[in-house]
Structures are given as structure tokens and as C-alpha cells.
């Protein structure tokens, strides 16, 4: 019979860390971890305007379209496997 109503079962696997971070939180953490927020006096206060600025900085460094938005290429970059050395500063 056709699979009507047979929706896939999704379970929680023990020991697996499932990130509950929002895209914004993920971006903030990335910017912080890889040195983009280390600019003197540039603390992010959670406002979109600030994030735009640092996102553009990151997008420029990584050769992504400089939109200042959490667009698809930027979200992909946030999830991509990479080196742990900061991109900005030491």
C-alpha cells in the first residue's frame, strides 16, 4: 500500500548533542570564536545593526557575498568544517 500517513520516525539518540542554537546565536558564536568581535570597542550588543557589520567583515574575509545578512552561503560557511585558528587577530 502507498505510504500514506507513514511519516518517518525521528528519535533522540543518547549522547548526541543536538544544537538548539538559533542562526543568530550560531553566527555570534562563530564571529566571537574566529576573532571578528575582537576589534577594540566593538562588543556586540545584540542589535541587528551590529551583527550586519561583523557579518560583512567575516563575509569579506571568507570571500562570500558581502550582504551583511545570514543568507544561505553565510549559513553554509558557519556550519562548514574548518581550522580553529582565528581569522582575525591572534
Amino acid at each position: 500500500a502507498p505510504l500514506q500517513g507513514n511519516s518517518p520516525v525521528v528519535i533522540s539518540f543518547p549522547g548526541e548533542m543536538v544544537s538548539q542554537m538559533s542562526d543568530w546565536e550560531r553566527a555570534h558564536r562563530y564571529l566571537e570564536r574566529y576573532g571578528y568581535l575582537n576589534e577594540p570597542g566593538s562588543g556586540v550588543d545584540g542589535k541587528q545593526r551590529k551583527l550586519d557589520y561583523f557579518l560583512k567583515k567575516m563575509q569579506k574575509q571568507l570571500g562570500l557575498p558581502e550582504t551583511g545578512e545570514l543568507d544561505a552561503p553565510t549559513l553554509d560557511a558557519l556550519r562548514a568544517p574548518r581550522c580553529g585558528v582565528p581569522d582575525v587577530g591572534s
Binding site: P2, L3, P8, V9, V10, I11, F13, P14, G15, E16, M17, Y34, K60, Q61, L62, G63, L64, P73, D76, A77, R79, A80, P81, R82, C83, G84, V85, D87, G89, S90
Partner: protein
Amino acid sequence: FQTFQGDLKWDHTDLTYRVVNYSPDLDTSITDDAFARAFKVWSNVTPLTFTKRQSGEVDILIQFGTGEHGDGYPFDGKDGLLAHAFPPGKDTYSGDAHFDDDEFWTLGTGIVVKSYGGNSDGATCHFPFVFEGQAYSTCTTDGRTDGVPWCATTASFDQDKRYGFCPSELLFTYGGNGGGEKCVFPFVFLGKSYDACTTEGRQDGYRWCATTANFDQDKKYGFCPNRDTAVIGGNSQGEPCVFPFTFLGQRYSACTSEGRQDGRLWCATTSNYDVDKKWGLCPDKGYSLFLVAAHEFGHSLGLEHSSVREALMYPMYTYEADFHLHPDDVAGIQFLYGKGSAPEPTVPSWPTQSPDVPEEPTTEADGSTTTEDYGSAATGSTPVDHPTDACSAGWYNAVAEIKTELYLFKDGQYWRKPSAGAARIQGPLRIRDTWPALPDLIDAAFQDPLTKKLFFFSGRRFWTYRGTRALGPRSIEKLGIGGDVQKVTGALRRKNGKVLLFSGEQFWRLDVKAERVDRGYPRHTDSLFAGVPLDAQNIFLYKGKYYFCRDPFCWRMTPQYQVDKVGYLKYDVLQCP
């Protein structure tokens, strides 16, 4: 390129390094070779030399670790952050390179299993191999009574009788103080008896065993090498899959994505997940230790991240088979150290098409040196690395009608041709983005119209996908296709849940529901499909007609088995301009 603030660099050119510990993912000789080749990337274009030391003070210490591993910069588990390194200097960690051992370290294209003993002189396992008429895609203990896994090092043990033993704690350990001796089971640790490797007593998750019967007394131990079926992460890191296993009452004989939203393949590490809840992710392509090491050693020498996507020092990882140091990297390292006396390397012109992707990694007979160059340079996360127009691709690994669209597969990419006459072909897209479990090379594919289940074939293996749920790889032998068949070249969907599978000059009729070919097959292609080329590269159903394509032409056949047109795949089928 960028250098660290103050242009940090070594004040001498004869640099030394030491490997502090090893990952259980790779044989130590393969790891050593990867590091040596990674250093050579830089010594080729500078006056720098790199010498490996077994002990004592060195410039660059190389270490594997997980989580917080001592330097205050913790790793983050699987994926994400892969490794890091410190710039040159006099500080404790200066020049050191650390690799996250929660990653699955390979040479970038999947597990590399070096064999030991036997009669193959350390050659790598050949998967699949045939033993007593059965095909094996992993090491096996079949045919032995001592439980030691083995593999053939050629395609057929029955024919060549070449074999070796696979990494196993029953054969050897690494590191520790046990001198590489095998585990002794059972062994006693803190008064408790152990019949298998354990992570008890450790915080870093490495599996270990005693190499005498009593650790409490003798204090002799070693780390357990990962078996080829060892899982990654989950709650059973390093333990092998157990097949078949039960999950939600169903039996599974292969890794599956059932139960997951992300499509990743997993297995249970006991025979019953429902009871034991022990699991891990199945081995994937892993990350190329050579590539990542070459990047990290760039930091060890004084280079910061480059914003040139094709450069080795770009921060993101992408595997490419054909490695060349990018001119940006050469300029950076020569800014710090000069050119050296070696001949100037030939700077390649960058390909406009994706390079051919090798199906499996290849190693020399001694298993220690890869014959391919394992490639460089991250390219970010665009749809494909080197986008190619479908019409200029020239040929395809596989062509298949899925739903009502024609799918064209080639070297890790695919295109979709909508059913509407001259609608633009979409793509290329990455196969791995849509179907993460699949390899880059797809030989044939089809969709079962009843269940919507997709079948993909690559070499002697096949995968199924229903939505995002994957199952496989499994051997085509499971379908009843003989061990001498190297690949399925095409598939024609028929009525009543049947599909014809082609290889060479013969075909089988597959009962899709039973996942088994019918009796009376294979039959000769010419017996039913007279007038089509018997060496067709792509065979598929499209808009109710059969197509047999041999570059650059296609023979179109009606359901009444009459060839009604011979034309170009490119112009007549794909309607390229």
C-alpha cells in the same frame, strides 16, 4: 595571504618535529606518511627542511586530542573545528599542531584499511572482495575460529589467495607501555574484569586494554586500534557496528538513516538498539589528514588564513583529489623564508571542470604511501566547486528518470532536466548535499513509482533512499546479482514493481519489493532489446521509452521493443542548444 602580526617565523631552517600520539583511525605508518607529505608541501618551495624525531625537544609537536586537550583551546566534537596550530616562537605551544580526534581521519575518500601479516606484505584491503563466492565490503572473521578479522588484498581471495589481517585489538595495540602487544581478555582493572576494550579510567575517550591479564598488578596497557566498521561518536566511539541489529522492532543488516532527520547513516553497536541504546555514526569519507596537516603546518610556519578560496590556507576544509599548492600560499611562505634552491614548481592552471574523483583511495603495495596527490584548498560551500553546464559536461556516469525529471549524474554532481520540453536544465548540485550517504560516482539509479524509494548503484554497492532516509551501502549480491558483476550500467523500470538492471551484455529483472532478482536471469540483452548497442554506457527510461546511449548517440526504443530513433543524447534528449 596573511602572516601573523610581527611576521612571526622560525629563526632556523632545519626544523624538527615529533608525533606525540596517533589516532586510532589510521595506521601509524599512514599517519607518518601523511605528515611527511604535508611538510614536503612547504619544503618544496622554501629552504626549510623537516626532520622527524622520536624523542627530545623539537620545534613542532604534533598531537591528537579531544575536547579540552591541555592548551586551553578545546575542540568541539565531530565536525566543525578540525584542528589548530600555533605560530612560530619560543612559547610552550609555539609551532605545535593539534588535531581533533573526534573527527574521522582518513585520506579524504573513506576508510583506509592497512592489512597486517598474512601474505600481502602490508597491502591495503581490497573492498569488495570475494571469499567462497560471497562478496565482502568490510573485514570479516568468516573462515576463522580465532575471531581475528581479515580481508583480501585483491578482488578475489578465491582466485588470488592474497590476504592480511585487519586492525584489531586481538592483533596489536598502539601507544601506551605494552610494547604493541595484543590485548589480553579478560583483564582486570581496579578489581573488575573486562572482556573488551574500554574507556573506563580515562577522560579522553580513547579505548584501551591491558596487555597482560591483570592491569592492577602489571600496569601494562595499550590503545585499541579502530576496526574498519568502528563507529564515530554517538555513545560507542570506536566500537564496531553489529549486524544485524534491531531498531524499533526492525532488523537492519547495513547502516541506516532511519530515525534521523539529518540523513546520516548510523548503526547499533550491539545486536539490539531498542534494548541497549548503543550506537554511533557509520564511517564516512572522513577528513584528509594530509590536507588538514598541510594547512596547519602553514600556521606552524607563520602563515595566517588567506581569503583566497582556492588557497591551502583558506580556513575551510574541502577535499580535492588533485592537490597543488596555490600561488597565494607560495607567495606567503616565500615572503617569510625565501625560495630555496629547489626548482620552481609548475603552477597549474585551475580547472574549469571538476577534476575526476577517484572512487577509492589507492596506496602503494607497502601501504605507506599514497599514489595520488591528495588535494588542497578549501572552496567554501557554493553549490559545486567548479560549476559546469550540463550541456558541456560531455558524458555522464548515470542518467535516470526520477519522478518526471531526467537526472544526470557526473563526478559528485547532478543536473535535473524538467519534463517540460525545452525547460532549462537545473544544476549542477552536489550529490552529497541531497543524498549524503552516496559516493560521488553513481553508475545507475531508478525510482520505484509505488513507494517512491530511490535506488542508487555504484560499483558493486547500492543504496536506497526514501525521502531523507537512507539504507546502505549493501552489496548487489544481496539482490542476487553474481560476484563477477563489477557494476550496474543502467536500469529500466517496468510494470508490476519490476526493474531491469543491466551490466555488460546481460540484464536481470529485479523484484523491487522483494529486493531480489527473479529466477531465469541474467538474460542476454540482445534477446529482448535487439538493435541497441550492447556496450551502452547509460540505459534509462524517459517519457515511457527506453534509451540505450553510447557516447554521443542514443538509441530510443518503444515499449514494443522497436528502435524508433537514433539521435544525440546532447541535442535530441537533453535538447541542448
